[in-house]
Symmetry: C2
Amino acid sequence: MRNLLLNICYDGSRYHGWQIQQNAVSVQQVFQEALFRVIGEKPDIKGCSRTDSFVHARQYCISLKTEHSIPCERLVGALNHFLPEDIAVLNCREVSPDFHARYSCKGKEYIYQIWNNPVRDPFLNHRALHYWYSLDEAHLNEAAGFFVGTHDFTSFCTMDARERGNMERTVTKAEVKREGDLVTFTVAADGFLYNMVRIMVGTLLRVAQGKLEPEDVKRIIEAKSRTEAGPTAPPCGLFLNRVFYEDVK
Amino acid sequence: MRNLLLNICYDGSRYHGWQIQQNAVSVQQVFQEALFRVIGEKPDIKGCSRTDSFVHARQYCISLKTEHSIPCERLVGALNHFLPEDIAVLNCREVSPDFHARYSCKGKEYIYQIWNNPVRDPFLNHRALHYWYSLDEAHLNEAAGFFVGTHDFTSFCTMDARERGNMERTVTKAEVKREGDLVTFTVAADGFLYNMVRIMVGTLLRVAQGKLEPEDVKRIIEAKSRTEAGPTAPPCGLFLNRVFYEDVK
């Protein structure tokens, strides 16, 4: 049995996230159908994370087990042939049998894009949040700094998911930068709670609006209460940017 | 009577070019409908150029005459409200009565994007030509250099348009650059013949394939024959980037 690790990339605008579900098209379903056309099998496909509807991925990792002997390079070419234009397989390699796209994952990096101009950019539709008003990225970056470290992020998790155990995560990077009118929030951590990045962004936008000060982020984390944080920002500006593994062999 | 100059920006993926036509949706038609909803008039709208189906514009200029007293800033806001997401009005100002978006235009700059990687980029669908094979941008840039200057560009004009008079144009810039896997061809001129940029790109790709040498471009220009140049490259990678006017008052 071969264990394959594939890196894919997708524009999530048309998809209701990664995970297969009833009555909605998911990336996993479309990927599974393309895979079936290539190898004639429907193996259990492990994704590195759930992603919300309409969220994008510059890098998303998949692992799957198959007896099929197709060379990795040919699998990439064939999958790209059958996949729609908004999903691409970047590469594929064989890994040890115990590798699992989700359980072996050591961390991830997300980027959230904000288009900060009174007029929308037609080329960023579905790829950035459009924020009309002036936005001081240095001020937001100061607020983002409070996310860094090991904290209980209950305040930054959608309520429904609260019972799921350990809410502690270690954020290794949280930065707000500007390039022209595009403001980006980059955040890396060993793991993310449900809607964590989007609630972080919603909270940063409260800072932008002057409704919160940067140091309020510290208080909100300590409160361990979802109602203290800002609203959940829309999914369209969110990109899973990188997925980290240790010593993939 | 006020004469208004508007700069717009659009993702051309859904549109059959600027110009109104039967049985196909054009940017001009959609713009005219939005304008009618704002000012209740359908004035004659002058565009700075025809653009082909599926071509994009980072800057496209429009002029129109109206008796309506709506302030420019409010017109921008109202048009953006009624226009679809893939078209945006950047700004608007009043200009002298003799200004005409097409006849007053002194030059334009186009950019053609080529995604040069064996795997497509889902975020560049409809926004770049996907070119699989290796591509030496320095070699292509050398070829592009031969476009610069005042030449009869008959070889770089779709046949149908040949009878339309003076085929001489002055190219002031023609450069090929690479940023990672994205190769761009930037070309500026006082005017462009029908399909001129796309045929230039088709010719550059012949150079990339080793079927032509950079210095062949000189010979092709001198031949004044469409059949000597390369094929017309697809429209999706083409962006009208800038439009130049002299002393707009």
